[in-house]
Symmetry: C2
Subunit: 325 residues, 2 copies
């Protein structure tokens, strides 16, 4: 691979001049510029980003830690994050934590060692201090760490209200919520807080079911659903914590002979693109996934440039009614 030296030699100038045309810095005659550009072209020269990064102590790499890209929501989100990172001249280093504290810690370490310019945390299983200590631009999804670390989320509470209200308006008399484990300041917990509050306000009885770990565990969902049908057979409305869970609820209904929406109404959360492949159109609370991904990237970049960021960014959700309510 040719280096800047080779280019300088071929163009008959110094490396400084080459570096200048590379970065459009300082004044330089058109003539030399042409010559240098031509030399670059002939050698098919590409500046070594490693050396560049080392020299400017800036890598243009953003780290992304999520539970798993295989989960449709995170897959979609990751796609948007990558797209917008790319548009801003940044590369994306992908890390799947599987919601494992140990793995997450190792990934953070690795990312710091790799001198990434910032980290977008879609998975955050550690204690607050772990994030505060590392002196790096950070953004989280759905988790509040400290005022200095901005978080991006959809309006979880409003989403919970919308979903629950819809179920009640449709005539549901006994509700259930199924979701992941609500711990660690996870803001998605607001969804079922809103659910409980709204149901309570209407004097509608409800059940709360959640998995142990906040991971993507199909079997856990199926177990919870079986449990629900068994222990609360009167349930006629489900607010699912994600569209995936809603899909399994739909499937469970079919297997248990419950008609949707006649016997059971279902509302999901997320609004993933894949929901369109389900049989009936799923009613759901749509998060602005692309906007969230884009914003996360922008917040990292803004922090890199020392720009101001707010502690929180709550994006609006939208109720999308389908055929399951």
């Amino acid at each position: 691979m040719p280096t800047i030296k080779d280019v300088a030699l071929k163009a008959g100038v110094s490396v400084t001049t080459v570096s200048r045309v590379l970065n459009n810095r300082g004044y330089l005659s058109e003539k030399l510029k042409k010559k240098v550009l031509q030399a670059m072209d002939e050698l098919n020269y590409r500046p070594n980003e490693l050396a560049r990064s080392l020299s400017r102590s800036r890598s243009n790499i953003i780290g992304l830690i999520i539970p798993s890209v295989a989960h449709p929501f995170f897959g979609e989100l990751t796609g948007y994050i990558e797209e917008h990172a790319y548009r801003n001249g940044c590369k994306l280093l992908l890390c799947n934590s599987r919601q494992d504290k140990h793995k997450e810690l190792e990934y953070i370490d690795m990312l710091r060692a790799s001198r990434v310019d910032g980290i977008i945390m879609g998975s955050h299983t550690l204690e607050v201090e772990a994030y505060q200590q590392m002196n790096l631009p950070l953004v989280t999804f759905d988790r509040q760490i400290s005022p200095g670390i901005p978080y991006v989320c959809s309006d979880n509470y409003q989403g919970g209200v919308l979903a629950t209200t819809l179920l009640i308006e449709k005539g549901c008399r006994q509700l259930a919520h199924i979701g992941g484990h609500p711990g660690l300041n996870i803001l998605s917990g607001l969804r079922f807080e809103a659910f409980a509050a709204t149901a309570g306000a209407h004097n509608i009885p409800y059940t709360l079911l959640h998995t142990d770990h906040n991971s993507f565990d199909v079997e856990a969902y199926e177990r919870l659903l079986a449990q629900l049908f068994h222990e609360q057979p009167g349930t006629d409305g489900i607010f699912a914590g994600s569209d995936i869970i809603a899909a399994y609820a739909l499937k469970a209904c079919r297997e248990h002979g419950r008609r949707v929406p006649e016997d059971m109404r279902i509302v999901g959360y997320d609004g993933i693109a894949l929901r369109s492949m389900l049989g009936p159109a799923l009613s759901t609370i749509r998060q602005p996934i692309e906007a969230m991904g884009k914003l996360a990237v922008e917040l990292i970049i803004r922090q890199i440039h020392g720009g101001p960021v707010s502690p929180q960014y709550v994006l609006p959700v939208e109720l999308e009614e389908g055929a399951t309510t």
Copy 2:
């Protein structure tokens, strides 16, 4: 951030010594080793991977170019690739090409500039020369470039035979295949070659439908399905090019009042984990997705070490019968 110099200073040794304990190279007394390790610990020192990479001209980064992580198959595959890259001490740089030649070229350029140790190509829209010219460990999925560039794929032909045979054995009299565009030496084209050959051998009439671009285009699938129902109403068996397409076929059947499997039998391809969220269990040809991801990483690493690699790696598929046949 502390550097190796700071550690050396604190431990009262030279940077060479620190580097030695860092890499377990050469002989060094236990005493100094302890001291250095302690200094590292106290400073919370992490070696700068950028400098390391520059010095050894080896970054331990693998580039991955795929159409889109948002597509379930690639999302799942990416998850496995990341996992195995990580296990081998490599990081993963993610690139979504959207099957865009221009973007793919830019990504390749960027990855080369970033001095990645190799590239796994899940998307490959360029001409053969483009890949041959770059002197870098490469692995492709489902595309044959040249003997020096190994490719990983499932046994597409066998998969096509299994799927088609199943449909015929179940009594289908008129078949259809729906898939992506078969061009550019894409080996997945073998699926419908096998389909056509098998159907032909049994004197079963069939239709071939495929999208223009090999991308993940929901609307195109729905359009093709509508077209199929309209133009070939007698079709009673569909071999879909992916589980996603199969899911839309299933949905279309429901919308057109066709019962599955009574009126229409459907077989998918891929065996993505998400298929379990569909209503009825989908019959499909299961690719060993994890094995494919793992193998791709290993092949890159083997090439880095100058190890021998075969030109092709065809992994076995498995017919999984569900409720749609």
